[in-house]
């Protein structure tokens, strides 16, 4: 019984061998260095878009400022006061009212057609004296 165990006791208790970190091969090391994290890439894209947008808006702003200012032309109106009417009264559709409106339009046309100095009515120019006695 004593013979079986001593072999076991003689054997030194060996610590588990922890292998030293092995340096990766040179190719693998290089590819790891070049690899950019995806969030950085997204960040770059967002920043790019934002800057582009700002640049475009600034450019268009400059363009609008540089355009010549068009002054609004004023149309002369017959009446000096401009009346803003909101809505029609009940009278607007009244037949008597509409008839009166038509009568006024007819009267205006009638007055405009009157010629006080109608050339067709001008009397003829005649020579009265025969002029023999001159």
């Amino acid at each position: 019984m004593e013979n079986t165990i001593p072999n076991q006791a003689e054997q030194p208790i060996s610590q588990p061998i922890v292998s030293a970190p092995v340096a990766p091969p040179p190719d693998e090391q290089k590819s790891k260095k070049n690899k950019v994290a995806p969030y950085v890439l997204i960040l770059f894209i967002i920043v790019g878009i934002t800057l582009g947008g700002i640049a475009a808006s600034v450019k268009s702003g400059i363009k609008t400022i540089s355009e010549p200012v068009v002054t609004p032309t004023t149309t002369p109106y017959a009446t000096p006061t401009s009346i803003v009417h909101t809505r029609e009264s009940a009278m607007a559709t009244d037949s008597a009212f509409l008839q009166t409106e038509a009568q006024i339009a007819s009267l205006t046309a009638q007055i405009n057609s009157i010629q006080i100095q109608d050339t067709t009515l001008t009397p003829p120019t005649i020579e009265l004296s025969l002029g023999f006695s001159k």
Binding site: I83, H85, T86, R87, E88, S89, A90, M91, A92, D94, A96, F97, Q99, T100, E101, Q103, I104, S106, L107, T108, Q110, I111, N112, I114, Q115, I116, Q117, D118, T120, L121, P123, P124, I126, E127, L128, S129, L130, G131, F132, S133
Partner: protein, 267 residues
């Protein structure tokens, strides 16, 4: 077939006088223009022969000058008659003129036409240059009466158009008055007050028109003078007053339009 032709002729004869009513003054005007051309031509020929007669004093030139004088005197009377007939047609078309006024001016035309017919009747008897001068002188001495009559008739014709417009104006005023009465139920007191004020201003324009027309009427009936230039000056004044009367009507019509536009909307 013959029945169809008779029917056609009957229809034509019925319609023709109706369509001719409005064209009568136009036809008279065309005739007047035609007579005017005839007078101008006769006057030119007379002037040439008169010049030859005054230059050569020959019997031939005297005979030709006398012939052309008679022709010119005849065409002159014809022209004046044609013009008076044209005025008569214009008077007939002036429906707004009162019957008494129309009758008054038509009598003036009749008198002048009678004078001219009498004058024309003297022309064939002209045998010498002195006779021609004498006959021509009869029209010269009557000319101021003729010219004043002509201008009085012109004023009457032109007044007729203004009177017609004024009648329409009066009808519109009545309608507007009724509409304002109706509007009192629905519109605000402020707006009603404005409309009443505007209505008064429209009525005032008509009063001003009437004043001018009364003055025109007075001046026209007394349009008589011994000199033609004085008649023309007075006629010019009357025309100015008629222009003012027209202006008042025009302004009133413009106010009427403004008033109806205001009534149309609720402010």
């Amino acid at each position: 077939m013959s029945m169809v032709i008779i029917l056609f002729l009957f229809t034509f004869l019925c319609i023709f006088p109706l369509s001719n009513v409005h064209a009568s003054s136009q036809t008279a005007y065309q005739d007047y223009l035609f007579q005017y051309d005839g007078y101008r031509s006769a006057l030119n020929e007379f002037k040439v022969t008169k010049s030859e007669y005054q230059k050569y004093k020959t019997l031939t030139s005297e005979t030709t000058a006398l012939e052309k004088s008679k022709k010119m005197l005849e065409t002159r009377d014809t022209l004046l008659r044609a013009y008076l007939l044209f005025l008569n047609e214009k008077l007939n078309e002036a429906t707004s003129l009162s019957a008494s006024n129309k009758s008054l001016y038509q009598t003036l035309i009749k008198n002048e036409v009678t004078f001219l017919e009498g004058h024309t009747a003297l022309i064939p008897a002209i045998g010498t240059i002195t006779d021609a001068e004498e006959v021509s002188g009869k029209l010269t001495s009557h000319n101021s009466v003729l010219q004043s009559s002509m201008r009085q008739i012109i004023v009457a014709i032109q007044s007729a158009e203004l009177i017609k417009a004024n009648t329409t104006y009066g009808e519109i005023l009545t309608s507007i008055q009724n509409l304002i009465l109706k509007a009192r139920e629905t519109m605000s007191p402020e707006k009603i007050a404005t409309m009443d004020r505007w209505f008064l201003q429209i009525q005032n324009k008509r009063s001003l028109y009437q004043q001018k027309m009364d003055s025109v009427q007075t001046k026209n009936t007394s349009l008589k003078a011994s000199r033609v230039d004085e008649i023309e000056a007075a006629f010019g004044e009357i025309q100015k007053e008629m222009g003012s009367a027209k202006q008042y009507l025009s302004e009133g019509a413009s106010y009427l339009k403004e008033l109806t536009t205001s009534m149309k909307y609720i402010d």
